[in-house]
């Protein structure tokens, strides 16, 4: 008959062995993860090179094009990689600015849940460069390139536009027609009938531009009134006469 393992010593020994196995296991897993991340990087760079060097050949073969796109999707590589080239630089022709337009809108949509569709041009540039990938190509995106690309998008209506703000630009990707921020503001102001920029930013965690823009829209629509009387103590208040109805009765 087999001897049963007994005693504290045996249990401790067993536990120690198990712990060692676990350590080794996570060590191997960690190692493997690193290797795979490396392979992924290689894959990405190669795919990017191919996208920029063999664009036309890839387009010609529909079967291969699908597979190429699938690869780009799985590893997160941007297949649009035309270089600016001489003619694009001089005349703004070619695919470069159209592609940049796609990438710009993509960044705007991806971040709109945070910024309500309003983003500064500098931040936009940073994010576009990151999403385009490889460092080599990053350097050649300037603010002027972005402005040109956005200008080409103006055919798509006023939903996507530049807003000059002092010495910099804001890009608005969600038109007022589809902007839910106004509803949010009205909801927040419901109790008091008024709101200030700071109060709005505090509760909703919005950027200054986003909040300012939405409030101004409401003023333009005639739904909010500006009150600068309290400015000495603090800041401008926005009153909503439509929400005051019940209050007026009780006053």
């Amino acid at each position: 008959m087999r001897r049963r393992v007994g005693g504290v010593g045996a249990i401790q020994k067993q536990q120690l062995a198990q712990a060692r196995f676990r350590n080794k296991g996570s060590e191997i897993a960690e190692d493997q993860l690193q290797q795979m991340t490396k392979q992924m990087e290689v894959f990405r760079t190669k795919l990017q090179e191919f996208a920029s060097n063999h664009k036309n050949e890839i387009r010609k073969d529909p079967y291969f094009r699908c597979q190429f796109q699938e690869m780009c999707a799985t590893v997160g590589v941007d297949p649009l990689a035309s270089s600016k080239g001489f003619w694009a630089k001089m005349l703004g022709v070619g695919d470069f600015y159209y592609e940049l337009g796609v990438q710009i809108i993509e960044v705007c949509i991806a971040t709109s849940h945070q910024n309500g569709g309003i983003i500064g041009l500098d931040e936009l540039r940073e994010k576009v460069m990151k999403s385009r990938g490889s460092k080599k190509r990053q350097e050649d995106i300037t603010q002027d390139d972005l402005l040109r690309a956005i200008d080409k998008l103006s055919v798509l209506g006023k939903g996507f536009r530049l807003i000059p703000a002092g010495n910099h630009y804001l890009v608005q990707s969600v038109p007022a027609e589809l902007n839910m921020d106004h509803t949010t503001i009205l909801q927040q102001a419901e109790g008091t009938g008024f709101i200030s920029l700071m109060a709005l930013r505090r509760t909703q965690k919005w950027g200054e531009e986003r909040a300012q823009n939405a409030l101004e829209d409401l003023v333009k629509e005639g739904m909010a009134w500006v009150d600068d009387q309290a400015k000495d103590e603090g800041e401008r208040l926005y009153w909503f006469p439509g929400l005051l109805q019940d209050k007026l009765v009780s006053w």
């Binding site: 159209y98 971040t111 209506g157 007022a176 839910m180 106004h182």
Partner: protein, 383 residues
């Protein structure tokens, strides 16, 4: 035919592609036609693979070691070329059922017919592959590998080997374009396994939300985008494009609440089309013909100049009517109240009220408190 096995189409280690026919290959079990018509045929140094044209995931394979000899069958006028492959009895069944589409077959040979040609090349390549008998080396390799599989060191070594192999196949595939085209399928599955494993251990493939969003958009690819090459440059092109757009965007627009700005459409469509970039002008022109074609989505231009695509089912007059019904229910409504009821934006709600007013369903009370709408009693109760 009972020697065929299902498989996933990926190559084993040290398996090499020798020859490939894209389409038109039909399989016969002996003299009988099988369900395996219209496929592609791939020859490697170990196997023959047949792949369905309809579903790209359906593969069956035949081990070359089971092949005794092959012969050509004459391909008279109007008939496709045939190759007959004679097979040995599989030696070790061990009472198991095999993992193939056919369990038992009275025939000891199969036939391939080649509707789109290629049988002569296939014949010579297959003959030389059978002569070389490379699968025997593979069996030896397999045995020596198995010895290493002991203890932690063995496991580690095995993982290392595997990683080296992956590195090698990546660098081989990306050597030049034609190589990549040949190995595209393997690379697709390889990239997927790597991405999957990284995701399992680390979460997302990238921290950057734009890159994640990009991946998502790219994965909704269109396999056959409408281009100027295929449909000319005129009216036809825009009409076909309009259909493609409607087809592609109907669901996303529905998910977005029935309305989506044209800029979003531009981005999504171009991502789905991949390298076949569409210009903003062509997009707008295609959107303009949507209404004539009675597609499920159509272009709408707001007074502010904002362009959107919206579901055709959301017709202005229907929306105005539903707004006036709501006004009647609540006695009176402002645009922000309506926006909260409908879950739309304030501006959109106002538009609906204004168009209901235009149709005479409701009328306004414009005061310092803002613009409020009531049921139009003048119209209904006076008459």
């Amino acid at each position: 035919m009972d020697r065929f096995e299902w498989c996933d189409g990926s190559f084993q280690s040290s398996e090499k592609l020798l020859f490939k026919i894209q389409s038109g290959v039909k399989l016969y079990d002996g003299d009988n036609v099988t369900n395996f018509v219209n496929g592609g045929l791939t020859l490697t140094n170990y196997r023959i693979l047949w792949q369905s044209e309809v579903s790209s995931r359906e593969y069956i394979s035949l081990q070359l070691q089971l092949v005794v000899f092959i012969e050509k069958e004459s391909s008279g006028w109007g008939r496709s070329g045939k190759i007959v492959v004679h097979l040995i009895e599989p030696s070790s069944r061990k009472g198991q059922t095999n993992k193939g589409p056919v369990q038992h077959s009275p025939f000891s040979f199969v036939k391939f017919t080649f509707k789109n040609g290629g049988e002569i090349d296939f014949y010579t390549q297959l003959n030389s592959a059978i002569e070389k008998r490379e699968w025997e080396q593979k069996l030896l390799l397999g045995k020596s590998e198995r010895k290493l599989r002991t203890g932690i060191v063995g496991i580690e070594r095995q993982i290392q080997e595997k990683q080296k192999e992956t590195d090698k196949s990546i660098s081989a595939a990306f050597k030049d374009l034609s190589k990549l085209m040949d190995m595209a399928k393997d690379m697709v599955s390889l990239s997927k396994t790597i991405a999957q494993k990284i995701q399992d251990q680390k979460g997302e493939i990238s921290e950057d939300e734009t890159i994640r969003f990009k991946s998502y958009l790219l994965s909704l690819g269109v396999s056959d985008p409408v281009t100027k090459d295929t449909h000319g440059t005129g009216d036809d092109y825009h009409k076909e494009l309009a259909k493609e757009l409607a087809n592609l965007m109907e669901k996303p627009i529905e998910e977005a609440g029935g309305i989506m700005p044209l800029s979003d459409i531009y981005c999504r469509v171009n991502r789905a089309r991949g390298l076949e970039l569409l210009s903003p002008e062509d997009l707008v022109n295609a959107c303009k013909v949507m209404e004539i074609l009675k597609l499920p989505v159509k272009l709408h231009i707001f007074d502010s100049g904002v362009m959107v695509l919206k579901l055709s089912s959301q017709d202005d007059s229907i929306l105005a009517q539903s707004a006036s019904v709501l006004v009647e229910e609540k006695e009176s409504l402002t645009s922000d109240e309506l926006s909260r009821i409908l879950g739309t934006s304030v501006v959109l709600a106002k538009e609906r009220l204004l168009s209901a007013e235009k149709s005479g369903f409701i009328c306004r009370d414009d005061s310092v408190e803002g613009l409020r709408f009531y049921k139009n009693r003048f119209l209904k109760e006076m008459s």
